[in-house]
């Protein structure tokens, strides 16, 4: 039976109250049959929803990826693999994708999964409410046809190279039409107590404490899943997540929740295992406000590039678990890096040249406002090092750490900053997460707040996102770097390397590029 939100005086709480009266009566929690063991994974907070079709919240994705599935999943090379779709065909012009759907799959409530669920999900949820996909689907003019119950055909008005890699459970989870149709989707009961086709079923949500999933006995990929339960324990303090791994209270902590200063210690711990490397490319960058008096001139931005010690940032901020920035798109996608115009060549550390560039830009010594999210300790260290670097060339940097929602308002709505420190990731393809950093935009959070607008860049970005040929795309991205590495609306400081950590008792983790996905094959020893 599914239960949500155990209320006030739930059993465990009631016990606490009874403790004072010396009573102790406590029924136990039910356990699922089949599979064995419970894996406890950390999250940082209650997710805003358990519907991945309407939110890109990390914890929502972490949990939903075990409950829901998508047409494809991405292996560690970001190559699409069959999931709810068993096969697919793409037309040569990249404008038609035809998916054959898996037969015999049922939702956790026993209803059959059909092509109607796929069409409903794209038309009514992702196309209207998904923070990433709504804009993508709209711009593609996607029309979904379902010639039969087990076929879904996507017709696009233009090609879109990352279409398949974006068909994952994080961007395109398939939701049950019979539970969402005709409802206010964000407020629908199934957005709080999800019903999916995935390896684990939602069991209960003890708000503030944990979310418990149990094994789906009717999963299509038998004998998986191997675990009896997965529990997401809410651990608000980052330091206590690494402590939890060491005390055995936690089994798995994703990179997103990991306090970076603790990583070297955890990576040396013999009882723990980790996966290190760039899996989902992510760049950390300093975005300049090109409309501010100081950074309106590109020479001022270039001066910063020559003054900031990027290798030092990697060592001191990321404890060496990153790579110094090389260009506008980092080096997470090896195929697009343009070594000819890399930062190493264009902007070697040189305080004298930086000062000369500043002088040419007409910098008058006025204070520079550097805005960043105060809740991220790495950004604070990063800001302090950059301030020190820039002081050496005569810039007066004032740090403005702001609470996250205030920072979003200041940077992306009001654009009241000179430099802001941010990080973006781009899962599977640069067009998914990095286009927004340089394309002309006037509003909206987490995109190009620099005010930089270059029609040539917009044109190249659009073509790079749609060209079906990889070589052509690489050429376009290289051409973009020629312009962007020169204009520097943002200076990429480093490419983050993710480190996911788990106890050695857990096996079968990390078969996908996204550590949150593909848990059907996970096992645990000794519990």
């Amino acid at each position: 039976m599914t239960r949500i939100d155990k209320l006030a005086f739930g059993r465990r709480q009631a016990l606490g109250a009874l403790a004072f009266a010396g009573l102790a009566l406590r029924p136990g929690l039910g356990h699922a049959t089949g599979g064995s063991g419970t894996v406890v994974a950390a999250i940082d907070n209650d997710p805003p929803t358990l519907n991945p079709g309407i939110s890109t919240d990390y914890a929502t994705g972490e949990i939903a990826a075990k409950i829901y599935e998508s047409l494809v999943w991405l292996d560690v090379e970001s190559t699409p693999q069959p999931s709810l779709a068993t096969s697919w065909e793409a037309a040569s012009d990249g404008r038609t994708y035809s998916f054959k759907l898996r037969q015999g799959v049922t939702w956790h409530d026993g209803k059959p999964f059909t092509a109607a669920d796929v069409k409903f999900t794209f038309d009514e949820v992702l196309g209207k409410l998904h923070p990433r996909m709504a804009a993508v689907l709209k711009s593609l003019g996607a029309v979904i046809e379902t010639p039969d119950d087990h076929t879904a055909v996507f017709r696009l008005q233009r090609g879109y190279a990352p279409f398949l890699v974006q068909m994952t459970v994080f961007d395109a989870p398939i939701l049950p039409k019979h539970l969402f149709e005709g409802t206010n989707i964000p407020a629908a009961p199934a957005s709080q107590a999800p019903v999916g086709t995935g390896p684990f079923k939602f069991q209960e949500w003890n708000r503030g404490a944990n979310i418990r999933l149990t094994r789906n006995e009717n999963y299509w990929d038998k004998p998986k899943p191997y675990l009896a339960e997965v529990v997401f324990q809410i651990v608000p303090q980052a330091a206590n997540r690494s402590a939890g791994l060491q005390t055995g209270e936690l089994d798995v902590v994703s990179d997103f929740y990991m306090p970076k200063p603790d990583l070297p210690r955890l990576m040396r711990d013999a009882s723990l295992q980790n996966r290190q490397g760039i899996n989902i490319p992510a760049i950390w960058f300093a975005m300049f406000n090109t409309k501010s008096p100081v950074f309106a001139q590109k020479e001022a931005r270039q001066a910063v590039a020559m003054a900031v010690d990027r290798p030092r940032l990697v060592q001191q901020v990321m404890r060496g678990i990153a790579r110094p920035g090389v260009g506008a798109f980092g080096d997470g996608f090896k195929w697009l890096v343009n070594a000819d115009v890399s930062y190493d060549k264009k902007y070697p550390l040189d305080a004298t040249k930086a000062k000369a560039l500043l002088e040419k830009a007409g910098y008058d010594g006025s204070p520079i406002r550097m805005v960043f999210d105060a809740a991220r300790p790495q950004l604070r260290s990063e800001a302090q090092i950059i301030r020190e670097n820039l002081r050496a060339i005569g810039m007066d940097v004032q740090l403005e750490p702001l609470e996250r929602s205030v920072m979003l308002d200041r940077v992306f709505a009001k654009r009241e900053f000179d430099i802001t420190l941010q990080s973006f990731f781009s899962a599977g393809d640069p067009a998914i997460g990095y286009t927004r950093l340089y394309a002309t935009t006037t509003s909206g959070t987490n995109n190009n707040a620099s005010g930089y607008s270059n029609p040539k860049v917009d044109e190249l970005l659009a073509e790079a996102a749609t060209a079906p040929d990889r070589d052509r795309r690489a050429a376009l991205y290289k051409e973009l770097q020629v312009i962007l590495n020169e204009d520097l609306p943002s200076l990429v400081l480093f490419d983050e390397e993710t480190v996911n950590v788990a106890t050695k008792r857990v096996s079968g983790l990390w078969s996908s590029v996204d550590a949150r996905d593909r848990w059907a094959g996970v096992r645990i020893q000794g519990n």
Binding site: A19, T60, R207, N240, G244, E403, V406
Partner: protein
């Protein structure tokens, strides 16, 4: 009775002002709840508008305030847009955990604080007195969230005796009495961390009050009548020294409740304090308003209860 009724009547305009002031202050805080709600990527404008309309965030502030006041007067605390639940449901779901933590902390602080204060007063100038005064100074100056981290480091990581997070075992949770003991293991560290500051305060107040009383003539008289030292300390001295101690305990209930926000966050304890902390970071206005109102009501009631108790213990305090 008149005293109680008068005090409760006085509380009405006070609570009204608290609600209005909280609403205005929260509304004036920069930051947008919709941005937090929809996630990190640029959300479609249509969706943002839909969310704003759904929660009335597209209305002017004074309209929102009037609506809110109307709802509160009918007992409706609103709807949490970050949690997609009625606020009263959310708060009720967390209340037991916070009461459990704060009452345990208050009990620990009161019992240990009074005992240490009495011992220090009885053996004034001894090493015991110095020790208690040392604990009192330390306890009063250490931030409780830092103490919490320290306790986790020592008792969870180094010694491995107690769990660091949550309020129950999440796998293989024991049943019956063993389950109760398991729960106590989770309660101990956060309760200690939360109580230490108040333990220190109560010990200092008790010591000072006891020293004053112990030098009074009636104590000398009791001793000369041959009363045992235990009887002198508890029946005669403590009872007469109790008034300021009770005042301090009662008046600090609100602070303990407010202080639980950080301790619950440090220990992952699923209570009201954590809910407040999370609601602030998510700009979940209805939940913030309701919790602040609840804390205000608790402070008013705790102060009233303290005054009533004060009158019961000390007959010299009466109606004026």
């Amino acid at each position: 009775m008149w005293f109680v009724a008068r005090r409760l009547l006085h509380a009405v305009p006070l609570l009204f002002c608290v609600v209005v002031l909280n609403f205005v202050l929260i509304a004036a805080t920069p930051g947008d709840p919709v941005t937090i709600l929809v996630g990190d990527f640029p959300a479609p404008p249509g969706y943002v508008e839909q969310v704003k309309r759904e929660f009335g965030l597209d209305q002017p502030i004074y309209v929102q305030l009037m609506r809110y006041l109307g709802h509160v007067l009918t007992g409706d605390l609103g709807y949490s847009f970050a949690n997609r639940q009625p606020v009263s449901t959310l708060i009720l779901g967390r209340l037991a955990a916070t009461l459990e933590l704060t009452l345990t902390a208050l009990l620990l602080a009161s019992l240990l604080g009074i005992a240490l204060g009495m011992l220090a007063a009885r053996w004034r100038g001894s090493w015991l007195d110095s020790g208690v005064q040392g604990i009192a100074s330390t306890g009063y100056s250490i931030p409780d969230f830092w103490l919490g981290q320290l306790l986790i480091l020592v008792f969870s990581i180094w010694l491995g005796w107690l769990p660091s997070q949550g309020n129950m075992s999440v796998r293989g949770a024991p049943e019956g009495f063993a389950g109760f003991l398991d729960h106590l293991r989770y309660l101990l560290l956060p309760a200690l961390a939360l109580s230490f500051r108040y333990l220190a305060l109560i010990a200092r107040i008790t010591r000072a009050a006891m020293l004053e009383v112990l030098s009074a003539d009636f104590i000398l008289a009791a001793r000369s009548r041959g009363a045992s030292e235990t009887s002198v300390m508890i029946t005669h001295a403590l009872r007469n020294a109790a008034a300021p101690v009770i005042t301090v305990i009662g008046y600090n209930l609100g602070f303990i409740l407010a202080g639980s926000a950080l301790i619950e966050t440090v220990f992952g304890w699923p209570g009201i304090g954590r809910l407040l902390f999370d609601s602030i970071s998510r700009r979940d206005y209805p939940v913030m308003m309701a919790i602040l109102l609840m804390v205000s009501v608790t402070v008013v009631l705790a102060n009233l209860a303290t005054d009533i108790l004060h009158r019961a213990i000390d007959p010299r305090v009466g109606d004026r």
